[in-house]
Symmetry: C2
Subunit: 190 residues, 2 copies
DNA sequence: AATTTTTTGGGACAAATGTCCTCTAAATCG
DNA sequence: CGATTTAGAGGACATTTGTCCCAAAAAATT
């Protein structure tokens, strides 16, 4: 996590050290939850190793994958963390996963000490926004097969670990349709 | 704009006053642009009255509406403002529109004077994120007719001013399909 | 290792959505 | 005001995507 913080060029080495006492190490086994829908999210996790999936549930009970989080990035039920409202998302480990967890209240305490922690939060929110804007664009202008193709080229090897049914709902389509898309891509190669 | 700032409960009255000298009033006639794609966005606009539309262009030349901005809210080519990269979006007035425009560099100067301007930016980024998350959810789990219905109930009267073709691409569908959806809604009423 | 559960691929058919085009109404412009 | 452009509805047909289903393969469990 410290390396991630360094990469933002916001913090002194002392500030980065000062974070240490607030980080709690946590291990999730496959299938364990970081947060369940309906709870209010009060923490931010850094994925040291492993893979997380966020999903929510439609009225009819169908699970829809909102996003994945790979190694060396941050994960939280962001809208709940921001608004203080119950999380619509469940966050679950797809494989055994090692985390460093920071409590929101501790981040707020750090923010009293140095403005840089506020700048970090501003930066992260902006980054997240830019990501989602790209995703909106892809829903508006691409068909499912193109979105899948983009995803494959953006996240080549991580995707191997993700069951196809999760990828399908992430793309906004059914398993059946993703299966068809994959078949068509194979045929094009031959 | 001052009323909008007050609503965040971040600023003293003096701070709100201090913004005044940096705001430039601007009027856009119908069809005029606030920013064109390819330019780097360096300003934030408050819509005093009127209506803006942001859109980008597909490779085949088709225009896709990204969002609308109504009265008493802020508008900017946000991803470009954040990243400093050329904007993918065009922002255009759909009707005669009165704006207050703040330069990014002036906001940065204000941010040197009071941390509250940074907190404002953090807050705005977070708000934007929450909006987009909702929109992603709707693309993933709703069909076009449901997205249209939601839009109608969220923005009842503003929508009257917006040509249907713009609504269609905002929803991620064609004009033809939106026409069908509207017809079906009428039939259900009768 | 055997059993059970989950995941995947795909057939058959249905529904949603797109493409192309035409006609009419409405808005814009000279 | 008349001429021209733009927006909207919708027919006919094509493509994309969904639903329901089943069987094989893979993974998890006992």
């Amino acid at each position: 996590m410290q390396n991630l913080l360094r990469s933002y060029h916001l913090f002194s080495e002392a500030e980065i050290e000062s974070l240490g006492p607030y980080l709690r190490s946590r291990r999730l086994e496959k299938g364990d939850y970081l947060i369940k829908a309906g709870k209010i999210c009060t923490e931010i996790a850094f994925v040291q190793s492993g893979l997380l999936r966020s999903y929510y549930t439609k009225d009819d009970g169908e699970e829809i994958t909102y996003c994945f989080t790979f190694e060396n990035t941050l994960m939280t039920a962001y809208s709940s963390l921001i608004t203080g409202l119950p999380s619509p998302e469940n966050i679950q480990a797809l494989v055994p996963t090692e985390l460093w967890v920071l409590q929101k209240r501790d981040l707020e305490a750090l923010s009293q000490q140095s403005i840089n922690w506020i700048l970090l939060q501003k930066h992260l929110a902006e980054q997240q926004y830019v990501e989602l804007e790209k995703r909106i664009f892809s829903y508006q202008k691409e068909k499912a097969s193109e979105r899948y193709r983009d995803l494959l080229s953006a996240q080549p090897h991580y995707l191997q670990q993700i069951p196809l049914q999760y990828l399908a709902s992430y793309l906004g389509i059914t398993r059946r349709h993703l299966s068809r898309i994959r078949r068509e891509m194979l045929e094009r190669v031959n």
